[in-house]
């Protein structure tokens, strides 16, 4: 049983805005559970639509997820084309999430993007999903050259721009924080995705239970914390477990982030990715920024999770740097690491 959550947003687009020279990009996001399509012009999001797959039982199954994408992309695309305030010819390029992610999902997304690109004869841009989360933050918040804490279901990385590439300063050594929250949620009998439910339950928590504080330099690890929390289930109430789990894991993230800021001497901190919507994590990161006297930015809640707009916005920057790929060389890269991407759009 699969049910769908959809999200729609459309801004009031004025004809006069079409006159500016900003490029227009059609972006496709489809790396795991979310089918997202968006149209952006410059840093203005014109339409952003998505549909998200929630497994009724257990975690994400790659085949189910890709079936979901294949079913929803055409519907979303139809809606987008209906609502597009200008002719499709005005689109300058097609951007798609090329990796990292689940292979079957990536291939569905790439196939649609390639087809559109060939159909309307506009260049194709292959976007790294993780970097798109960062670029989104750089486009919609005042952060320009931040230390980035990217927290989501599949990834947890501390990223910053150094020597012409986005470098990973620290990352999870096993599972991502969102994945850890989902996993704990399942063990506690909470629905998927676990994060928002755990956040709610944690508000009623009062007793801090002992859990590991897992930090290794600027990296962190969560699998041991899940196991330790699981052992508490029979003895303590759900709220206290959720509360303690959040406090320990987020404190480790916060400390690693503070180290990254202190080492790189950057002047701003950006929180992005699905788990960025968590208020307790935001609060802690604000504290980190205050400790290191840097500015703190967080992506808006509506854009925190995977969405088409982030791919399209990254596409804008890549379009300006003419970062195109040929359709025949546009194979997907399921294990594409953040630090493997040649970044030619930042000087």
């Amino acid at each position: 049983m699969v049910y769908v959550g959809t999200q729609n947003s459309k801004s009031n687009f004025l004809d006069s805005e079409m006159i500016t020279n900003e490029p227009v990009i059609l972006g496709f996001e489809g790396t795991a559970h979310t089918a997202g399509i968006a149209v952006v012009k410059g840093n203005k999001i014109i339409i952003n639509k998505s549909a998200t797959y929630f497994p009724a039982l257990g975690g994400i199954h790659p085949r189910d997820a890709s079936d979901f994408l294949a079913k929803h992309f055409p519907k979303l695309l139809e809606q987008i084309l209906d609502e597009l305030p200008f002719n499709i010819e005005k689109i300058d390029a097609i951007a798609f999430s090329r990796g990292p992610g689940l292979g079957p999902c990536l291939r569905i997304t790439a196939t649609i993007a390639r087809a559109i690109s060939l159909l309307i004869k506009k260049p194709l841009i292959g976007v790294n999903h993780c970097i798109a989360h960062v670029e989104l933050g750089r486009m919609v918040t005042p952060a320009r050259d931040p230390v980035v804490l990217y927290v989501s279901g599949g990834n947890t990385q501390l990223i910053t721009f150094l020597n012409r590439k986005y470098r990973i300063l620290g990352e999870t050594l096993d599972v991502a924080i969102g994945n850890a929250l989902d996993s704990l949620g399942r063990k506690l009998g909470l629905p998927h995705p676990g994060g928002p439910h755990i956040e709610q339950k944690a508000k009623g928590g009062q007793k801090l239970l002992p859990l590991p504080y897992a930090i290794k330099g600027m990296s962190f690890s969560f699998s041991g914390v899940i196991t330790a929390a699981q052992k508490l289930i029979s003895k303590y109430n759900v709220s206290d477990i959720c509360y303690s789990f959040q406090e320990y894991t987020y404190a480790a993230l916060a400390e690693a982030t503070e180290r990254a800021l202190s080492c790189t001497k950057k002047s701003s901190l950006l929180l992005t990715g699905g788990v960025a919507a968590n208020m307790r994590l935001q609060e802690m990161m604000q504290g980190v920024a205050a400790e290191q006297s840097v500015k703190f930015f967080v992506v808006p809640k509506s854009l925190a999770g995977d969405n088409g707009a982030m791919i399209a916005l990254a596409g804008i920057n890549m379009y300006r740097a003419k970062n195109f790929i040929d359709v025949k060389n546009s194979h997907v890269i399921p294990r594409w690491r953040t630090d493997q991407v040649e970044v030619n759009w930042i000087l």
Binding site: P100, G154, N155, L162, N163, R167, I168, L169, G170, E171, T172, L173, D174, A176, L208, Y213, I215, K216, G217, M218, S219, E247, Y248, A251, A254, E255, E258, R259, L261, S262, C263, E283, M284, M285, Q286, G287, V288, A290, E291, Q292, P334, R335, W336, R337, D339, Q340
Partner: protein
């Protein structure tokens, strides 16, 4: 006797003051409370780290590793008094110093880390920010707050992986430099090869490790 002077650095964990003690330059490392952590967690962590750092510095000094000398502990203020190592942080050197100079530094770092691991001491935060290189190009290890006394291969392998990852993040010569580091490491630590094998195992637990990125 102790004269406290200006702030030398504000790290993630502590404020470092420069001072003097019987005319020798020292640093005072003061661990501050962190507002973002719950006070219960914060208190335990700061005390744990203060103790760990002091204990490990003394132990490492005893076995002859190049670590600064611990002069004293002020428990009430969560402060350590440590000999000052004058030199540059490795991070600052790595993209400016000539490669031949770096190569010998990296081999020396390997020798030091091997010596620590042989004596079951792990650093816990072995990054290019926690190594000071003095005028004679000799590396000194600093900042043992996350260190542990442990026979566990996992903890030792973590040191190698942390070092490798930060190196990779900032230097394009990371492969060669890490090889030289290992050369030194294997020299002082006979079981070093096993630790290195274990490091690759930890590395493979993470996501998206590209095949060409795995170490041979």
């Amino acid at each position: 006797m102790i004269r406290q002077k200006d702030i030398l650095a504000k790290g993630a964990e502590a404020i470092i003051y420069r001072g003097s003690f019987l005319q020798t330059p020292i640093i005072l490392k003061h661990r501050l409370p962190k507002i973002y952590r719950l006070p219960q967690i914060d208190k335990t962590i700061r005390l744990q780290r203060l103790r760990a750092e002091a204990r490990i510095m003394v132990l490492a000094w005893k076995i002859g590793a190049r670590v600064p000398f611990l002069l004293g502990i002020d428990f009430d203020n969560r402060t350590l008094l440590i000999e000052e190592i004058q030199g540059e942080i490795l991070f600052a050197l790595i993209n400016t110093a000539p490669l031949t100079k770096l190569k010998s530094i990296f081999k020396d770092i390997g020798l030091e880390v091997g010596l620590l691991h042989k004596n079951n001491i792990t650093h816990g935060d072995l990054t290019v920010f926690n190594i000071v290189v003095n005028k004679e190009n000799i590396p000194w290890l600093i900042d043992f707050g996350l260190g542990q006394i442990s026979v566990e291969i996992e903890k030792k392998a973590d040191d190698l992986l942390t070092f490798y990852s930060t190196l990779k993040a900032i230097s394009s010569e990371f492969r060669d430099l890490f090889k030289l580091f290992l050369l030194g490491y294997f020299k002082t630590y006979k079981k070093g090869k096993k630790t290195f094998e274990h490091m690759k195992k930890i590395q493979s637990r993470a996501r998206y490790i590209a095949r060409e990125d795995r170490l041979e």
